[in-house]
Symmetry: C2
Subunit: 212 residues, 2 copies
């Protein structure tokens, strides 16, 4: 490895180290809590070192949103795509989401719930990045439902967007109430609701646990 | 009026003036954005004057949560209690809530959505006040459903807490997506979902607009 490669490699490792910490901080305290000074102090790096890696607070916030999206894809989106398209995949996607929230992949619960509430009524690049992330997630849920419809597993005429809205509502609210009240009941309620919604539109059996 | 009464009266008016501004700021930027210096500058008051009225940033945050709760009660809870107990009151409560969000009573949408996301994973008196406000709202929705059940308008065995969870989920998500994407579709979806949930458990007709 040349000296330059070594430096780039070290830079990338430091970047990863910083981002692992920023997604955790932002999930609890919000993206505004990400200051270069704080990160430098916490990670025992120089402020100029952190600046050299990210350029500005806004760039640090944007990189944090991208890193959270990467982790979300890895934990929720990708494993759901490993089961066959259909109602089973819709259910799996919801289950993986609840597991991602309940398992506190981010210590403050769903990363996007917090930063959406923080940036929803503002303008600028961070707001836009958060909007994009939310649209991609909604679109993913809709596409998964559409696949189930195409596979003949949902009744013709099923309102895909309405169903997606309702599933997302149950997921997000389970996360919000569980983090707020530090209790698990909300996850059970979300599962009951999702199972009922799917049974309401499925042609055949819905592959959900017996208990629901 | 004695001189002391005059001072108390003036103090109360200033307090109201400050709180009218703090609920708006907090609904867009969060409760952490409430600093004594900023409010003094914006409202052309002295910092010591704002301090004298609230004592500390935390007291200012707590007073802001109480003021938002008062406005919420006035806009949503009280008018709903003016229609007779039953499914009609449940529907009215939800409609008033959507109107409160859509009408941007607070410029950032539902006041509590934002501050819950901001304080959910923290500890302390502000977190506790936010938890209390959310519990009171959930309890209000549950009580309104229970009244409908007692009035014989919902099927025996209706899971009150499950239904309340699902209605709250539809309301909160309509607010969140509408504020984020600056569009109205989410409110229609919430209304469709709420009407369906109520039809699913009602004994007779559900008094909702024909279009749903």
């Amino acid at each position: 490895m040349t000296r330059l490669d070594g430096r780039v490699e070290r830079g990338n490792r430091t970047r990863q180290l910083v981002l692992r910490r920023t997604v955790d901080i932002a999930s609890v305290e919000g993206l505004e809590a990400l200051t270069v000074g704080r990160l430098a102090a916490e990670l025992e790096l120089s402020k100029s070192g952190v600046f050299a890696l990210f350029g500005s607070k806004q760039e640090l916030q944007l990189a944090t949103v991208r890193e959270a999206a990467r982790i979300f894809t890895e934990r929720v989106v990708r494993p759901a795509s490993e089961v066959p398209a259909g109602v089973g995949r819709v259910w799996r996607l919801c289950e993986l989401w609840l597991e991602y929230s309940r398992g506190r992949v981010f210590p403050g619960g769903c990363f996007f719930y917090g930063v959406i509430a923080e940036f929803d009524a503002r303008t600028g690049p961070v707001h836009d990045a958060v909007v994009r992330a939310q649209r991609e997630w909604s679109a993913r849920v809709e596409r998964t439902i559409e696949e189930a419809l195409s596979a003949g597993e949902l009744r013709t005429g099923t309102d895909v967007q309405q169903l997606a809205f309702e599933l997302v509502a149950l997921l997000e609210t389970a996360n919000a109430l569980s983090v707020l009240h530090d209790e698990e009941t909300a996850y059970r309620r979300a599962r009951v609701g999702i199972a009922e919604r799917l049974r309401g539109v499925a042609v055949g059996e819905v592959p959900v646990p017996e208990i629901l």
